[in-house]
Amino acid sequence: MFSITRKLRNHGVLGLNERNCDFIMRLNPRRFYPRVDDKALTKVLALDAGMAVPDLYGIIEHQGEVRQFADMVRELGSFVIKPAQGSGGDGILVVTGRSERKRSSFRLSSGALISEGELQYHISNIVGGQYSLSGNRDKALIEYCVRFDPVFAEVSYQGVPDIRVIVYRGYPVMAMVRLPTRASDGKANLHQGAVGAGIDMSTGVTLKGVLEDEIVEEHPDTGALVAGLQIPQWGFILETSAKGYEVTGLGYLGVDMVIDRDLGPLILEMNARPGLNIQIANGTGLANRVARIEEIYDADASPAERAVIARREFAA
């Protein structure tokens, strides 16, 4: 047992306790949490900072407004409903279209049909706080449904793959792409069975994948190789992630981005408590990279410079 601990230490693997104690509590002041926990606020801040985000179609804040939902989406073919304060992808519904015959019947990313009433119930659950971190009342966001870049077509099942970049004191240190599977119900969440693939920070090419803490070579549903994919606009993605530090003020930050076919990389959300599976996906620990950043830390470096440093330092 102690030999395992020593090996993990040598690999710089970060544990949950250390993450909570030494990273989150030290680097992430509580007062900045709303900036990332409330996705509506994140969107506003990101827009102010000149970052691209998915369009917001509407916000439903009160139970009384749930009925206006139909009006809100009247003109829309596809959209996403998500709780503003949700965590781990819970409570997110992706509507990709409508039934041919019945306009009030919606098609989910899984292909299932869902009635307007059921969607309204889901929204009122969101507003009631079922998915919110604190259990308090929440807001439901209705926003643009990303049409993902074809580069991921072979390695995604339904949903939208996203890219998670860990940003330590403004420096991107590790990244992975999360690929939805049948098991994850189209959600890009590793806890729900999505595949995570590490990314070579210097080139933006994917590495091996991880599924439920196990290394995998192929996507479980499509069978395509996970490794070797070139993420488009990699430099831009790193730079945008690095900017997340200025936007949120959080020293240990997970930035989630998606690559839209037409709009390019968009900031989806940011996370003050990013998970640790990214280490498995990259086959290496965070602690060593973080230690390197501490050595070369420069408070005056711009996001672009920090992104360049990340590419230089952290080749796979």
């Binding site: 819970d90 079922q130 729900q192 803490d213």
Partner: protein, 506 residues
Amino acid sequence: MKQRYVYVLAALLAVIGLSVFLYKWQVLGFPVSEDQERPVWTIESAVHFDSGPGTIKVQLHVPTLTPGFRMLNENSVSRGYGFSLNYGSGGREAQWTIRRADGDQTIYYRISVYEDEAVDQADTTPPFPPRPVINEPLNTAVDVLVSDVRDRSADTSSFTTELLRRLNDPSPDPNVELLLAGVESDADFVGIATTLLASARIPARVVHGFPLAGRQRNAALVPWLEVHNGDQWLYFNPVTGEENLPERFFVWWRGNEPLVSVEGGSNVQVDFAVQQNHLDAVAIAETQAAQRGTSAIDFSLYSLPIQTQAVYAVLLMIPIGALVMVIMRNIVGVDAFGTFMPVLIALAFRETKLFWGIILFSVLVTLGLSIRFLLERLRLLLVPRLSAVLIVVVLLMLFISLTSHRMGMETGLSVALFPMVIIAMTIERMSVVWEERGPIDAIRSGLGSLVVAVAAYVFMGMAWLEHLIFTFPELLLVVLAIVLLAGRYTGYRLTELRRFKELSAD
């Protein structure tokens, strides 16, 4: 920096907690293990006499300094008599007085003592006694004997031993024979020895007492010789001359005065009866603390009403449950619903006992969960839905109790002890996880909660631990210190060693 604060604070708390604990344990004698009982001797002296026509005044020597024993309490039973305790030349004296009394009288004085090694040399150093004035020809005999014994001894102890050897010699020399001519009792014999010692300017006195052993109807007083060597009192067997005190020798009074004196009465007789009891060590320690005027007793839980004590006996175990929770979550890394749900479930297990507790809990959660899935179809708003689940849980409890009662299994009744609000929240949380993450995650977290609850139950149910915490609540400061330290534990959780196994390869 913060790390150091935590260490300092934790160390401080642990030191405070442990030092109070050690003080109460070592000095005040609070027992660390449960049901620890100490023998307590109750010695009853009964003074019998025939009353005369006038006023009656009874004076009885009662124990003052009792090496090896500490007094628990004393009292007197004497109907109609005025009672007072005074200090006389030979120690404490109990005094009873009455204007007039008829017929045979019996007055009781009762004292309870327990062994305590610490009560030994609590006496003051006496001054050198003056040379007693002795008439001739005895005076010459004393001088010869004393100077003879002094020549053959090195110190007080050996002097005494040599003196006693000569006094007990079966074929005594003429001087000894002369001195012991008028001796009638053992006490007189020891009295002569003290006179001889006083002639040698050695403080000495007779002690009267008896060895305590089990139950004695009629304990006989044994005189013993007590000699001060300048540092401490030494005890000598007046017959053998050995320096020792019989085991559990209880000193009743000292000096040459008679045990009892009765004015206005005749046919005086004093009987001693000894009774051995066992008393809870806690009670003894409390009395002791009270006698010392220690404030520890003011903050002892044993001073609370019994019912409140029972509540605190349970409440004080919650920190232990919380500690188990901390270890299971942050060091082992078990998934569980709710922060303290398992601790509350463990509390309920205390009443239901483990086997039935697990069965009842599982049945309740399973039934609640199935009804929760039915409620899902009704599309209720969050708070009403939670309330509905709560009501269903209460109804289920009622149903389980009634059914098991019908079937003659009374254990089912204890289901009512489960924290229903917590169970309702658990069911709700579990159903959400079920929907969102799938049944495997939900069941895993549910089982995790149960495992933590069982672990907490095992520790919270340890009788010795419960006794320890209840008697020494200051140990909770140590628990707090451990929890604080765990709060800064940045090592891996046990489950993470498995989780990151892909990274632990060479």
